[in-house]
Symmetry: C2
Subunit: 338 residues, 2 copies
């Protein structure tokens, strides 16, 4: 039985959901995958919990943040980064908030972890978007897995399908509805609600962030399409290479005009093959309802890959919530140790 | 660079397409996957070609069956089964015609190959449907991979998604439109054409077999749902456990009645969780057009998995032709040696 050390960075909704899920799925992981994960530490920006190498934190999944800080294992001044070289290498579960400009704080955690030979399962996009090529090379050099399904539409399997199910094909194009929040707002606008009201509703329901700009200005989609394309289609995009349009200026009249032609406005990330190269962009497009992505409503996401030998393959669905993202992290970890 | 021996059994449309594709994708396999496949032999019911261990058959991809038999490497009386123990173990690509009652001739080939430590990539369903549990155990014991994506809806990634992308989830249910021929006939019947005429048209277009009974009586769907469920949901179904309805007795009036309610008649394979157990069945059902599988037209296929933690995940598409099936075999082989 594998008993890998797990360190978790970030203890927001996703980090907490992951700890709960590890607990809930412990028996399944042991029985089905011969895998017994040991949660050695949980770290937030302002401190953390370290259980030591001989015990684990399976008891803390229901504790609040303030409980954590009061926990007896708390060690003042202990920095998570120091632990990577002190513990037997396992897997870093990276759930800190996404910053697509600096990649921090995740970037420093991931670099330190890779240097010390740890596998990575990342839910936050920032570090990968900022430093994709370098992190991939570091992982290759260290002979470890760098997984980020949870950062690329989470429970919607985008990378698995592109890398595993379509292995040996040539990817001719990709189109994806990858931001649940934007799709939710557009779906509500189809019912005649204004952008502002739909956004407020999404925030009240916990679907949109207090600062929703990444989602509604298209950068969330752009980040995901960058990671997917660079992983699957061999491109080398940086965020600045991807022209990006958001949904902020759409009116219900725009939505209805599309509707009258039997189409729906969607925020789509595209990768398009052109002579000798690929280009990517994010923009609002009127999608026919007969298109496999045309009927995705609410927070639903989907992606279509166009290939040379297998035709067109579409995946849609996957729960858009912290538990779904946590399940995606667990999936990546299971596949790392399989 | 891995240089595994490949033996191919079955040289019909799929087998031929596979040999052509191996040739076409040779450079990609070398460059991207560090894999250089060596086709040592091609076998049909009435004979075959064996190149020896030091040369391969990459030149034969355009040869007709009669050319094969006249090939200088042809050895009278040489049986493919003898080769598994004579060659360094590689991968058997099994493309013989499907017989869901006896599993032969594929079953004997697969058993011999597993006994000699060969990996399997199977396109034919028969052997697996007849002897699933035993073949899985043989593969496990031999420490080799038994892959059959090409037998479970081919370019539509059913097993990959269930086993890999949904790892760690509990499968609560599966529904799939898995037989392209049946879906094609039902789609044509939506245009008012009778079952018999739609079937003739499908045969004329090479979509339906001369003997279409496996497809139109539901046994193709039942075989696929058996393999998918046993692989992904931990069931232990045999074909006799799966009540099976076909599309033979449907009339255009049945189709139109569903249409009037905004639904489409589809041939669906189901796996349903009930208290303490799972049950499977194949039947014609009226599917709402808003359902992710409701709009699949022509030979399109799709599958929806219902899970505890990731919600509902649907995959649709994937080319339904010999080239798509060949690409699926190649995908499985790449993933075996990755």
């Amino acid at each position: 039985m594998d008993t890998p050390n797990v360190l978790l960075t970030g203890f927001g909704n996703v980090g907490r959901a992951f700890v709960r899920l590890m607990h809930e799925k412990r028996e399944l992981c042991r029985k089905t995958y011969d895998l017994d994960l040991r949660l050695r530490g949980v770290f937030k920006t302002n401190g953390g919990l370290f259980a030591g190498e001989d015990s684990d934190l399976f008891g803390i999944e229901e504790l609040s943040s303030s409980d954590c800080l009061a926990h007896s294992a708390w060690k003042t001044g202990l920095r998570c980064k120091d632990l990577f070289s002190q513990l037997k290498p396992g897997v870093l579960v990276e759930c800190t908030p996404t910053n697509i400009h600096t990649g921090e704080p995740g970037l420093s955690y991931i670099r330190k972890a890779l240097e010390a030979g740890w596998h990575i399962a990342a839910a936050s996009k920032g570090a990968l978007v900022v430093d994709f090529k370098n992190l991939k090379e570091m992982a290759k050099k260290a002979g470890v897995c760098l997984k980020y399904s949870a950062a690329t539409a989470a429970a919607l399997p985008t990378l698995d399908v592109g890398l595993y199910s379509l292995a040996g094909t040539e990817i001719l194009g990709i189109e994806g509805i990858l931001t649940g929040t934007a799709n939710y707002i557009l779906s509500r606008m189809e019912h005649g609600i204004s952008f502002q009201d739909a956004l407020k509703e999404a925030q009240a329901r916990g679907i949109a962030e207090p600062d929703p700009s990444l989602d509604i200005d298209g950068w969330d989609t752009a980040s995901k399409i960058l990671l997917i394309s660079n992983s699957v289609a061999g491109t080398d995009f940086e965020l600045k290479d991807i022209p990006c349009e958001g949904i902020r200026n759409l009116t219900p009249a725009d939505i209805l005009a599309a509707r009258e032609e039997g189409k729906s406005l969607k925020l789509v990330g595209w990768v398009i093959r052109e002579v000798g190269s690929m280009r990517a962009e994010v923009r609002v497009a009127a999608i026919d309802q007969a298109h496999p992505l045309g009927r995705l409503a609410g927070t639903q996401k989907g992606i279509t890959f166009y290939t040379d030998t297998m035709g067109q393959v579409t995946v849609a669905g996957g729960k858009s919530d912290p538990r779904g993202t946590a399940a995606t992290l667990l999936k990546d970890i299971i596949n790392i140790f399989r």
